[in-house]
């Protein structure tokens, strides 16, 4: 019986990516909840370079970096494919996953959670990035086509977390008037059967970010 442990935090989009992949493949695993302010010896030993979650430990061997873990899961376990079979389609999926993970996610993060000039600059960059995403989603439901794929999972935080953060901040600027295809994708992602039952609690996330904004705004 293969032993699979996942070190992570369910509210983190990076851990969620891996949980989604494992659940999609029907793989049983043990989630070991990490306290990121007080990292366990197991985490520090399994990911000595970055000391970050998530880490997948399969038969004692650790794999780090969420998108690397997802490729590992896809190559190791039977079940629905996460990446397409065709090499060109795989390249397109990897291209968009990289763009979403490396560029869109950090910029959106700064735009929503940053401060001052850095936040304003990030917001401007975000508008340009969202235009690119909106254009890419013009003729398809998901980045993966008709079904959720590798790139959609790379964008999980954009789909679910960012909308909640916007609501909690009280400032909504990613609207369907400005980005109709992107917002439709977000809606489809959050409501599709492959994802919906695995999403973390919306209320818990909202409360978490709301208190974060309140403490940031509180007089010091």
């Amino acid at each position: 019986m293969a032993e699979i442990k996942l070190l992570g935090v369910s509210l983190s989009p990076f851990t969620h990516r891996v949980e989604w992949a494992l659940k999609t493949k029907g793989v049983e695993y043990e989630l070991i909840v990490e306290d990121t302010k007080n990292k366990s010896p197991l985490l520090l030993e399994s990911n000595p370079i970055h000391k970050k979650i998530p880490v997948l430990i399969h038969n004692g061997k650790p794999i780090c970096e969420s998108m690397v873990i997802i490729e590992y899961i896809d190559e190791t376990f039977e079940g629905p494919s996460i990446l397409p079979k065709d090499p060109y389609e795989r390249a397109i999926a990897r291209f968009w996953a990289k763009f979403l993970d490396d560029k869109c996610l950090p910029t959106m993060g700064k735009a929503l959670l940053g401060e001052g000039e850095e936040q304003e600059k990030a917001k401007e960059e975000c508008v340009e990035l969202l235009k690119i995403l909106d254009n890419e989603l013009k003729h398809k439901k998901f980045f993966g086509g008709d079904q959720i794929g590798f790139a959609d999972i790379a964008a999980n935080a954009l789909a679910f977390w960012m909308g909640i953060i916007e609501e909690a901040s009280g400032v909504i600027w990613v609207t369907s008037e400005k980005f109709p295809n992107y917002c439709a994708w977000r809606e489809n992602y959050n409501n599709c059967s492959q994802v919906k039952e695995y999403l973390p609690s919306r209320d818990e996330l909202f409360t978490h970010f709301q208190s974060r904004f309140h403490s940031a705004a509180a007089p010091k």
């Binding site: 061997k61 794999i63 690397v68 590992y72 060109y88 390249a91 397109i92 990897r94 291209f95 990289k98």
Partner: protein, 225 residues
């Protein structure tokens, strides 16, 4: 695959283009090379990579693929002989992890040392050295990261040693320390010596040094205006 046209759009001094040359050469794939005159990008580049408008782009049978690491994985999956990734999924994951470490940590450190000045430069250079020491630890006594033969990490990242040495010479800050990184310092040369086909397509170090000296002068001049 024979008869299907392969074209690489690139720039001679770009290490990201070099990655793709290396992968194609190692697999013995015939291809056309089109040198892009940066910054005057051709309509073909803008059409093939509308998102980033950058090289390299591989065009295979009329279909464009952008992003050097994505291209490497595509080449690996399309031409399955002479594999550069290991067969075992865990070893593959390790190779991908280390390549990501290089791209996310080492490359910005080396390029940052080149383009920044003062305290910011010193801080980035220190981090860059620390990250290279981590790589030294992983390389250990091996000649290549692929162990007995050139692998994914070697193709994707051995160039950083050459570039780090060039940057070090231009800005007079040592990034690759032969004492602290005895294996890493020879890594790039080891790869070239093991595969003459790679040496043939790699620009000579002195030409790269001259080119980057000129580039650095431009950066310094534009920063002071």
């Amino acid at each position: 695959m024979a008869g299907e046209k392969v074209k690489l759009l690139g720039y001679w001094a770009s290490p990201f283009t070099l990655r793709v040359h290396w992968a194609l050469k190692l697999k013995g794939i015939e291809y056309d090379y089109q040198e892009e005159d940066l910054p005057n990008k051709s309509p073909l580049i803008l059409q093939c990579n509308p998102v980033h408008k950058k090289i390299p782009v591989l065009v295979h049978d009329g279909k464009p693929i952008a992003e050097s690491l994505v291209i490497l994985e595509y080449i690996e999956e399309t031409w399955k002989h002479n594999p550069i990734l290991p067969e075992d999924p865990y070893e593959r994951a390790k190779a991908r992890f280390w390549v990501k470490f290089v791209d996310d940590k080492c490359v910005p450190g080396i390029f940052g040392t080149f383009s920044k000045v003062g305290e910011e430069q010193r801080k980035i250079a220190k981090e860059a050295r620390e990250n290279l020491k981590i790589l030294e630890g992983e390389l250990g006594k091996k000649r290549f990261f692929g162990d007995t033969k050139i692998g994914f990490m070697d193709v994707a990242a051995a160039w950083i040693i050459c570039w780090a040495q060039i940057v070090g010479e231009i800005v007079d800050i040592k990034l690759v320390d032969a004492e602290e990184m005895p294996s890493l310092v020879s890594w790039f040369q080891n790869v070239l010596e093991a595969a003459p086909v790679l040496k043939e397509c790699t620009p000579p170090k002195d030409k790269l040094l001259e080119h980057n000296k000129g580039f650095h002068k431009m950066l310094v001049a534009s920063a002071s205006t």
